[in-house]
Point group: C2
Chain length 774, copies 2
Amino acid sequence: PVAATCDWLPQDDDGWSFYEEHQSRAGANGTGPGSLMDPLEDPVPGLGTYEDFNTIDWVREKSKDRDRHREVRNSRRSTAALLHSISDAFSGWLLMLLVGLMAGALAGGIDIAAHWLTDMKEGICLDGFWFSHEHCCWKSSETTFKDRDRCPQWQTWGELITGTSEGAFSYILNYLIYIVWALFFAFLAVTLVRAFAPYACGSGIPEIKTILSGFIIRGYLGKWTLITKTVTLVLAVSSGLSLGKEGPLVHVACCCANILCHLFTKYRKNEAKRREVLSAAAAVGVSVAFGAPIGGVLFSLEEVSYYFPLKTLWRSFFAALVAAFTLRSINPFGNSRLVLFYVEFHAPWHLVELVPFIFLGIFGGLWGALFIKANIAWCRIRKTTRLGRYPIVEVLAVTAVTALVAYPNSYTRMSGAELISELFNDCSLLDSSQLCGYLQVGRPDRPAGPGLFTALWQLALALLFKMLITVVTFGMKVPSGLFIPSMAVGAIAGRLLGVGMEQLAYYNHDGLIFKGWCTPEADCITPGLYAMVGAAACLGGVTRMTVSLVVIMFELTGGLEYIVPLMAAAMTSKWVADAFGREGIYEAHIRLNGYPFLEPKEEFEHSSLAVDVMRPRRSDPPLAVLTQDSMTVGGVEALVESTRYSGFPVVVSQESPRLVGFVLRRDLLISIDNARKRQDGVVGASLVVFSEHPPAQAPDGPPPLRLRGIMDLSPFTVTDHTPMDITVDIFRKLGLRQCLVTHNGRLLGIITKKDILKHMAQIANRDPDSILFN
Amino acid sequence: PVAATCDWLPQDDDGWSFYEEHQSRAGANGTGPGSLMDPLEDPVPGLGTYEDFNTIDWVREKSKDRDRHREVRNSRRSTAALLHSISDAFSGWLLMLLVGLMAGALAGGIDIAAHWLTDMKEGICLDGFWFSHEHCCWKSSETTFKDRDRCPQWQTWGELITGTSEGAFSYILNYLIYIVWALFFAFLAVTLVRAFAPYACGSGIPEIKTILSGFIIRGYLGKWTLITKTVTLVLAVSSGLSLGKEGPLVHVACCCANILCHLFTKYRKNEAKRREVLSAAAAVGVSVAFGAPIGGVLFSLEEVSYYFPLKTLWRSFFAALVAAFTLRSINPFGNSRLVLFYVEFHAPWHLVELVPFIFLGIFGGLWGALFIKANIAWCRIRKTTRLGRYPIVEVLAVTAVTALVAYPNSYTRMSGAELISELFNDCSLLDSSQLCGYLQVGRPDRPAGPGLFTALWQLALALLFKMLITVVTFGMKVPSGLFIPSMAVGAIAGRLLGVGMEQLAYYNHDGLIFKGWCTPEADCITPGLYAMVGAAACLGGVTRMTVSLVVIMFELTGGLEYIVPLMAAAMTSKWVADAFGREGIYEAHIRLNGYPFLEPKEEFEHSSLAVDVMRPRRSDPPLAVLTQDSMTVGGVEALVESTRYSGFPVVVSQESPRLVGFVLRRDLLISIDNARKRQDGVVGASLVVFSEHPPAQAPDGPPPLRLRGIMDLSPFTVTDHTPMDITVDIFRKLGLRQCLVTHNGRLLGIITKKDILKHMAQIANRDPDSILFN
């Protein structure tokens, strides 16, 4: 099935996959010595595992872990057992430490490599090609503080070839070589993704959300995905495309966590426990992306995770901190800061400024809603037309257009992170940027000069370009994050508004609005703050983050004062965007791909009852059920073959359909197959017995096959009159796969997660068949 | 029943109580015009409400709110209805704004008043008795920066009476007057609590946790409690007792929220929605106590709340911010800071220092565990002996001892918050405190001088005193918080260790440990940081907070660097304390009082099944059930009278006990009573019919009483084989009151929250009868 945001057909299983450990032994040809009489004591291989593209049963997984834990606790007899119990208790912390170290180191490596390759597009360091521009000029003794970016060791390609940095020829040469490099990087990225790990494309957050909610996509967090995503992320960022590395870093961190889970039995063997670690890894990803550990934890809590117990909160926080400090000790930006765009503002803001901040919030909300609609429409076109068949051509075309348009404008040529960093910063005496082209440098009152006007024009064009190109870039077959492009759009808009306000204040400081708080001598408007608020607003509009967004931004500045503007913008942005559609970009992509994701944030508001949603419907054939002691092996096999359900309820008898238990198709098939091979006398005519005491039988008949051990004795039930809002709540909170429906104690039907999602799609007038997976 | 940490017997209901709104109309003598044929459409008054000291049904409350919401949404026809729908959507935000404003203002008022009264014990301002010491000396023109605490306008009582500040007589006079004031304040506090609101005593957090988990304590968050708690909190803090105002501020904020809920129907009428607001209010309380809005939200999430949807997270954050800014604009500390103990460190810490930090963590954990055991033992003594009958004498005695011992030592005489503030701060050139009595002031290398030695002795004595007196103080019949005393203990221990390390480094800077990072010129050890880490460790040991603790501390310093020491200490402290007992102080008090609180953090680790916990036990009489269409009104009444169960399952018939629904005792009684009074012909012999279609009956018989409307058609069921860990999980996650147990579709028994708590108590070898409430 089509299974990733950027829908490659997965070509083959990549060996060290997400479920490798038990899948590799999960065939029906088990070699375990177990007798089937008590499958729980000595399990048949494959029992209790899941198929690919299926949903796990949270209740069963958590119960399994509690059993395991109980066993470890109760075996505290010898010293060895005590040590085992202690190591078991601390393995979670050790795992978190390893995840933090690995993700932090990888993020540092990605930062350094992306820097180097990005600069490679423009020129080369004569001291050694492995130096980035900045690194190259650090070593230069001739560098003054003012133009630390200019040093003789660093030469643009044009300079290197023509011998001079002036002249049209050199410029055109630079331009061409820039495009060639961009195309080369993009081609490499898309080919590597295609060849090694189709799952490495896109941001990965929609899939991780789905996986965390209990879905299984084998290989999505595997070794090959990790390697490919790391390498191609560097290439994709370096190619100058309008994409960020923040979302993919979450995917990279989750891959690290999943791979490291293999070191610990506790996590390798339990899907629920593993998802706790993955939740923490999502926090780690954001922590290294923004240098915001608290924000990362809240991001995981608010945006990504499904099951987030308090223990995970604490561990996530630990892992996020370890990762942030690992990254800082690698020091990829050379400034001992955690992030590229660390900012410090000094001027306070005034209450009147809330008006432009809220205006930025409205802009962010509108842009977010529009972006989601446009991007989804474009992805749908890609999915349904011939465009989807030529991913390499698509990537190359978009890269070519991006490079062609971006190069002449210095604000589009620089990387997204650099652009944001420049927009966030305030002009100080030392700043030589065009953005600070004021007439009177060094004084607080600053009329705009020609430099600033040029910058504004370029910024306006950059805004337009970024808004358009991001729509077609996100969803291509290369790793691509959305955080940086959205923030860039917002930051440009914010800076433009901020400079406008600043000039308004300069020329009208006695006007109605500014009177009293904006004297000519005071530095009353901070355009950098506007850029920051704009960035928050746009990011909020696209992702619908709230608390985590504000906290991430707060961690960038460190000042409690600026929380209020950020909050005002984020709230407005969310409200405005929600008015156009309640889904964020990740939920929209989840829905586009038909994943079985039960949104925990949205309330179910329809007044239907369980009986309206359950199968069989009124016109359907009756529910396929097993009886506890009156069916033969052959009969069961025939029933299983004739249906495609993944589980069957067991009832007392056809006449008295009172519920006894629930059996999974997979477990049933494996057990019968195993019994036929290994158990003497089990033939097609053998009775299948689920009850505790088998019925008396003819002495000459074949021995019965007792399968009580594989039956779930505590299936969840609701009555037919249960309102669906309560049922949905139960599914969400307990993480159910299915639930049986009864009326006065008699079994009526079954509701699966897919049924609920289909019902919800129907209510929202969407195609219920868009839900692809179970 | 005995119902508060500091167990006053509630004397009477205080009118404007927690459940005032529907309770006042909840009598059985309803006056509504409804016919009983469809009680859902036109409800009988009192149906669907709860009794005092009972647990709410979260599922029913949330379902009720969704019904209401659906109604509001679907009625969007006219402009008025649209406006109503919009105002409904924004009422939550408005409520949060009001809660933030009110709680912030109250906190500011409490701070100012407590400051003033605390200083009143020592002296008076000649410019006006309403000035506090600091405020008095602000105005003084003669104040130099160095001794801003000394000014002629401020006179101690001794100075005022004897005319001189020197001499033994003046000192003794001051001492005596100090004790008199302390006793006066304490007496006033305890008398006011007794007279007006017995619920105002203690910290309130254990009760709020229980209320948030769904329990009802009427009047606990009422108007009188708020007023009394606010006033007596000021008095209790001013009396110099070893208690803080931080915990009680959470109670105050929750009272504000509960009272403001009365303004909005949506929150007034729904217990679940109201608890969302109370969760946010808990965040507000911590936000104003520490000036840490993010920490407050995490505190509410981690420590207090039970049901905390993401929407509440965002709103809590908003309310916490509003409150923090309201408090800051009141500026109670006169320094535009949010908190009294704002700190800024400049020196980095070294990896080797983790050893003393972890040592502080161990100290904190040990102290926390010991404190909990000692305090609970003392509270048990108070409960069971005659001591409990003389609360006023107890308070006065403790106050007298505290004042007597505390006055001579300047570190115990100052308020807890001031002490912590002084211990957290680093010595700078201007600091005239004894703690900075180094020999060479102004140089980074500082051998200790005589001043510092005196300070250390005094601190050691203060530590001992605080450790002992806090045990008997917490739980007395005055408002008392634990945060400040715990932090003070830790801060003293940390400072002592910090100064010790500093001197060790000074005299051994070439020694093995310090070599390389601690040169004589460098300022390598920051004793203030040790105090901070110690404070975090002790607070963590007592409350077992983790993330929220670290974030609150982080918000005090604002530096990401110091998170690692804080985290190391908090983790160690929690592990050490957990080794002695897994309960924090709040959970211990909840258990002491027998509240029905199902701890969401602890895993249920026993392997029992639902059948082992359910009632009736094997030896008990059979379960009291109603049948759907074969019982008479008289029979039902007799059954209800003969039992004390709060609800009854309805089955098909006694012979075929298949479950139909569940009826609450309260609803049943109200309905029958109402029917007998208002419905013609309903007599004792009338059939009670719960089924959809009443059975055919004799034409001359009395008309049947149809009660399907009051029956819960979707009661929760589990099978008898369901493991208890899963059942407990269901109870916690869905917030159930009871759950029915079936076997093959037949009703077997019932499990209530109380049964689960009793079972858990039994497993832990505690008295199951200590669970008092349902």
